[in-house]
Amino acid sequence: MPFLARTLTTLALMLLMTTTTLHAADISPKITVGTQEVGLSVGYMLPHRLTEDHTTKQQGPAFMPYWMMTLTDPIGNSWYRGQISLGAEMVYIQFQEPILTHGVGFAPKIKYTFVALDRIRPYAEFAGGPFWTDLAGKIPEESSEFNFVLMAGFGASYFLTDQVALNVGYRFQHISNAGTSYPNIGLNASLPYGGFSFYF
């Protein structure tokens, strides 16, 4: 946890340094088709043992740099008015429990961002892709190093400027090997996270 705290503090200081000229009153970000977003999310994975076969309490920090491309203009005319964006993210998880191990993945990601509230923009997202971890074989739930990670969650972006936003969110995460080897009980976890985005 101290490592995570240091990382989050560093991110916060970087944000403060890059957003020294905030104009709080007139922020109405114009995200159009073709607008790109890059960012970094940092969170902490907390285990869910959904069945009696799940015994491992895996946990540790997660780092998720990502890139997104806005694909549509705002859709709809009510509270659900929003935009769709497509992108991908790298996922790095340092499993600190039960054994210090690592996991790396690449996940295409699709996101729906609600734009009705202007500078506060809730979103829902889904991502999934291949995931490698050396935790496999050391726990009863996973037998192969090659796995897939699926993530679904929601969050909210708060725009500090037209181009910079802070994000907080929650994801449910599932890691398993899609039946390519057995046992394949899989790992489930909650992943609360925070981060920032830069739009251009």
Binding site: V33, I84, A88, F146
Partner: protein, 251 residues
């Protein structure tokens, strides 16, 4: 098995990187009617002294049928296009000072309707498919964004006669995910607007004789007010010069 899957994944990432960086980030714009395909650019001549001022009397914009705040950018673009025809002596934007103009003035009311279709539904599905394919299908799945503009110009001559002109143009930008950029939408709107205004000006120039100062006398209306002002200086040049009127900008 695991090794094979790992190798396939690495191979997929290599192909992804290669396809997205080597020539597969494409986009192109289709505009109809294309300004490049104009068969007969219209050209007329008008005497310099015969030219009268044009005053903007109203400017209305809609987007997908909904009224919008008038865009000064669009208004200036339309006025610049009219100015480039050299049909009128002066152009006064909406709200400008018209006190020093003569009695013979042409008033203009412009309506500019934009229709935008970003194909949100199909784009969302295509995006899902592209993501599910780990972006491998991104070079072969095109996304579309449509924009159409219809400009209506209503010109009122000093004697009360009114002429209306309407032109319409539409375009589509086709792009792949990695070629998308906000500037492509600006490029599309710019090309469509240009085609629309070119068509509109072609129609306007064909009526050049209708807007000459000698085309109609001042109406015999009763005097409702008297203004006392300084006498205007006489024009420095006594001989009238001929001004070419066309949709091509002056050299």
């Amino acid at each position: 098995m695991t090794r094979h899957l790992f190798h396939r994944t690495i191979l997929g990432l290599v192909v992804l990187t290669a396809t997205t960086t080597v020539g597969c980030s494409t986009r192109w714009i289709d505009v109809t009617p294309s300004p490049a395909n104009r068969e007969h650019p219209v050209a007329q001549s008008i005497l310099n002294d015969e030219r009268v001022p044009l005053v903007m009397d109203g400017f209305y914009m809609t987007q997908n049928g909904a009224p919008q705040n008038p865009s000064t950018e669009v208004e200036h673009r339309i006025l610049n296009t009219v100015q480039e025809t050299r049909l009128f002596s002066t152009l006064i934007p909406f709200g400008g000072n018209v006190a020093s103009l003569g009695d013979k003035v042409v008033t203009a009311r412009i309506t500019f309707d934009e229709t935008i279709d970003s194909h949100s539904g199909s784009t969302a599905w295509k995006g899902f498919v592209i993501g599910a394919s780990m972006f491998l299908l991104s070079p072969v799945i095109d996304l579309d964004y449509d924009y159409a503009a219809e400009a209506s110009l209503e010109l009122g001559r000093w004697d009360g006669q009114i002429k209306r002109y309407t032109a319409r143009s539409a375009g589509t930008v086709h792009y792949t995910v990695f070629a998308a950029t906000p500037t492509m939408i600006g490029e599309l709107k710019g090309q469509v607007t240009e085609a629309c205004l070119t068509d509109l000006m072609d129609q306007l120039i064909q009526d050049t004789s209708f807007y000459t100062a000698s085309s109609a006398p001042l109406p015999d209306s009763p005097i409702v007010s008297v203004t006392v002002k300084a006498r205007k200086p006489l024009p420095s040049s006594a001989s009238p010069s001929v001004v070419p009127v066309s949709t091509t900008p002056a050299p």
